[in-house]
């Protein structure tokens, strides 16, 4: 149970049985008046946002969110299938729920799946993954006009800019939060 004084950016609360995350927060109080807690909230299921002002007497239930380690199995008809490593139970996430993470879904990659009362809401991947470059133009040595980077495609189909010396078949490390190249991985 939370009270209004627990409200802060990032807090997850339950309103009308849906989980909400506080995206903006401000404490407001006329000197002699009631404390007011002005929040922007985002529904973690449908993404709807709204503003609401709470008072110190207001109480909230904690949104019952869980994170479970699951492995990515396959994609079918726009749904991404993950399997719970412990129970072998399978869950399906849609494009919106997977978001940018779809670019880094290696077979069997282990991800944290965010669940609200057993319903999947979102995914977080390891910060760094190593992938094989499947398509790259050859390095034209001495070609200084071509600039400092070149586009390559990696095994998940994701395209990104890398230094010109990266060759097809090499392994590179990507930061999954920014989607950017980090380093070449030997071996």
């Amino acid at each position: 149970m939370f009270t209004a004084s627990d409200l802060r950016k990032g807090l997850r609360i339950k309103i009308d049985n849906d989980p909400y995350i506080v995206t903006e927060f401000n404490f407001v109080k006329p000197g002699k008046g009631q404390a007011l807690y002005r929040c922007k909230l985002r529904n973690m299921i449908n993404g709807n946002q709204f503003e609401r002002t709470f008072r110190s007497v207001d109480v909230f239930d904690e949104a019952d969110l869980q994170e479970k380690k699951m492995s990515y199995l396959y994609k079918e008809e726009g749904k991404y299938c993950f399997m719970d490593n412990l129970s072998y139970e399978q869950v399906f996430l849609n494009e919106d729920q997977v978001g940018e993470a779809k670019n880094f879904l290696l077979d069997n990659i282990e991800a944290e799946i965010l669940l609200f009362e057993d319903r999947p809401l979102g995914i977080s991947l390891p910060n760094f993954i190593d992938v094989i470059v499947t398509k790259a133009d050859p390095w034209a040595k001495g070609d200084s006009v071509s600039g400092n980077t070149k586009p390559v495609t990696v095994q998940t189909g994701y395209q990104l800019q890398v230094p010109p010396f990266i060759e097809e078949g090499e392994k590179i490390r990507i930061d999954t939060r920014s989607g950017e190249y980090l380093t070449r991985v030997k071996g």
Binding site: N26, V28, K29, P30, K32, Q34, A35, L36, T53
Partner: protein
């Protein structure tokens, strides 16, 4: 971590210098008018029971939420022009404009009413602005606000009629007075020149005198500059019976909400009948520094916030 802390404190140096200059200017302003500077204890046995102000517990006593009760006992003893610059403590108040420990300048004038205090505010803030090298215009967060007196004066009723979606009566009836004031009215107040918002519903002025011509109205004003509440003033209530009744009502309200209930400030109530008609005001020093230093957050005008300790 150490380097970051030094950096954080260094970037505040200009604001802290300005703050020091301003506090000296405030002190001089009152000394020049023969006000006596007073220090009253920060730790007291019984804070004023107010519905929405929570005191910090200090042993079996409390840290004062304002120096009001002790200063009024001095007034009752015949002191007629007194001021105090001190820390005040209010539990649970933390935001862009709130610190649980903040600095207040509070002053009282015997034989005056709240209108005299409006003149004081105009003179004080103009003097302080001049002394730190500002002319009569202050720039705050991209907005220019003229300080030249006289400032705007608008009653609470008229301000609600002008800016709010509902009337004062409706706001009181639905227990939304503070919400409507804070969310709909305040953002419009003092955006071009400072504004005195005056004549509050009597239930919103726990220590204020009731207007002779209208028993539903308390002689209270708040000063707003750039949508920010800077000061709260009363023509002081000197009817001890009425004051006790209001304290008891506030205590009942606190009990209903599950808030801690404070002991009755008996010595203050005993002194009150000896107090002659007076007016008193408290002005937030940190917020005045925010305004004149052009800072959007109270954090930027103090050396340390509770989170940085």
């Amino acid at each position: 971590m150490i380097a970051e802390d030094s950096w954080r404190l260094t970037v505040r140096m200009d604001a802290l210098r300005l703050r020091a200059q301003m506090i000296q200017a405030i002190r001089r302003f009152f000394q020049d008018q023969d006000f006596l500077e007073i220090e009253t204890p920060l730790r007291i046995p019984a804070p004023a029971p107010e519905s929405h102000i929570d005191a910090v517990v200090a042993g079996a006593w409390f840290l004062h939420t304002s120096p009001e009760l002790c200063m009024k006992r001095l007034l009752a003893a015949g002191y007629s022009r007194i001021f105090q610059i001190c820390k005040c403590f209010r539990a649970g108040e933390r935001g862009d404009r709130h610190l649980p420990e903040f600095t207040m300048i509070e002053w009282y004038r015997g034989g005056a009413d709240y209108r005299t205090l409006m003149d004081d505010c105009e003179a004080l803030i103009n003097t302080v602005a001049r002394e730190i090298g500002l002319d009569d215009v202050v720039s705050w967060q991209g907005r220019r606000i003229g300080l030249k007196a006289p400032w705007e004066r608008i009653s609470v009723r008229d301000a609600f009629a002008r800016y709010a979606t509902i009337s004062v009566a409706e706001a009181l009836r639905t227990d939304r007075f503070d919400e409507i004031l804070a969310c709909e009215v305040e953002p419009h107040l003092g955006m071009e020149i400072p504004v005195f918002l005056y004549d509050y519903p009597v239930e919103q002025g726990a220590l204020a005198r009731v207007k002779e011509a209208d028993p539903g109205i308390a002689e209270r004003f708040e000063l707003y500059i750039a949508g920010m509440e800077l000061a709260n003033a009363f023509s002081e209530l000197i009817d001890a019976g009425e004051q006790r009744r209001r304290f008891e009502e506030a205590s009942r309200d606190r009990r209903r909400k599950g808030s801690p209930v404070y002991p009755m400030p008996e010595r203050f109530l005993q002194a009150l009948p000896r107090m002659s008609p007076s007016a008193g005001i408290a002005l937030g020093v940190d917020r005045l520094v925010m305004l004149l230093a052009d800072k959007s957050r109270i954090d930027d005008v103090v050396a340390f916030t509770p989170e940085s300790l």
